[in-house]
Point group: C2
Chain length 154, copies 2
């Protein structure tokens, strides 16, 4: 209601993008969904469902049951706003929301940060690999673990 123009203007790009997509698709970006998106974004690294459950409980001053968070994560993942990091049982903001995310997740084993990069050449290589094996590709999980530039320097 009293949302100032200034605040509106400072809305991060990723959130604007997601709001636009929800508008287009008739999806509701509720308070809970926003809150969970914000927690994931702020985390600096992928967060587990239980980290979100705990954070949310703290923020709300009362316990939050797992299904509340898992359902919200399902929504966010299904709609491509969040990516599940399989090798960590964790969740990260998707850098290319809307598109089926063909991104590669680079996960630093030292600082825990995850960065999603999109690489058409790699993508093409994946498609060729699948095609050569006679495989009809639906979903990709590409997660690379190692040291990010910053941690490698240190």
């Amino acid at each position: 209601m009293t949302q100032s123009i200034a605040e509106d203007a400072r809305q991060p790009a990723w959130l604007k993008r997601i709001e636009a997509l929800c508008g287009e698709r008739g999806l509701q970006l509720t308070a809970l969904r926003r809150q969970i998106l914000a927690m994931i974004e702020d985390g600096g690294a992928p967060l587990t469902a239980y980290a979100l459950i705990d954070g949310l409980a703290k923020a709300q001053g009362r316990p939050v049951a797992p299904p509340t968070v898992y359902r919200t994560l399902d929504f966010l993942v299904e709609n491509g706003f969040v990516v599940r990091v399989e090798s960590r049982n964790a969740f990260a903001i998707c850098d290319h929301p809307g598109h089926d995310h063909h991104g590669v997740m680079l996960i630093c084993s030292r600082c825990g940060a995850a960065r999603e990069v999109d690489d058409p050449a790699l993508d093409a290589a994946l498609l060729r690999t699948a095609a050569r094996a006679g495989f009809r590709l639906d979903k990709r999980t590409v997660e690379l673990e190692g040291l990010c530039g910053r941690c490698a320097a240190a």
Copy 2:
């Protein structure tokens, strides 16, 4: 079971390979480890730890506690004889034991079968992606889900 001596002599290639590696490295391929390898191989699809626990319990006629199986899986994975399929919380025989497995796992969403393929071109693409991001790569998790040739035909 009609397991003949002839069959023994024809010990499957994967098992021979693993035995040889254990010999080289001074590792013990114990009965439990063999049994779990065999169960995974026979499964036709990656097996979860609890599927192994249940199968083993049935085979031995008495309960088997999780740590027994998880420890064995740790050994097999650490030594590159088995691969963990992250997107399924399951375990599959590694097709390239001994080498750090840079394989790609192709998982059929219909029949559940998983096939590991090695593709140098894809591997090179992964390395380039990591290098371009200033990332020192340690470990790869590449899992592609879709329909295998057989299931796609049906």
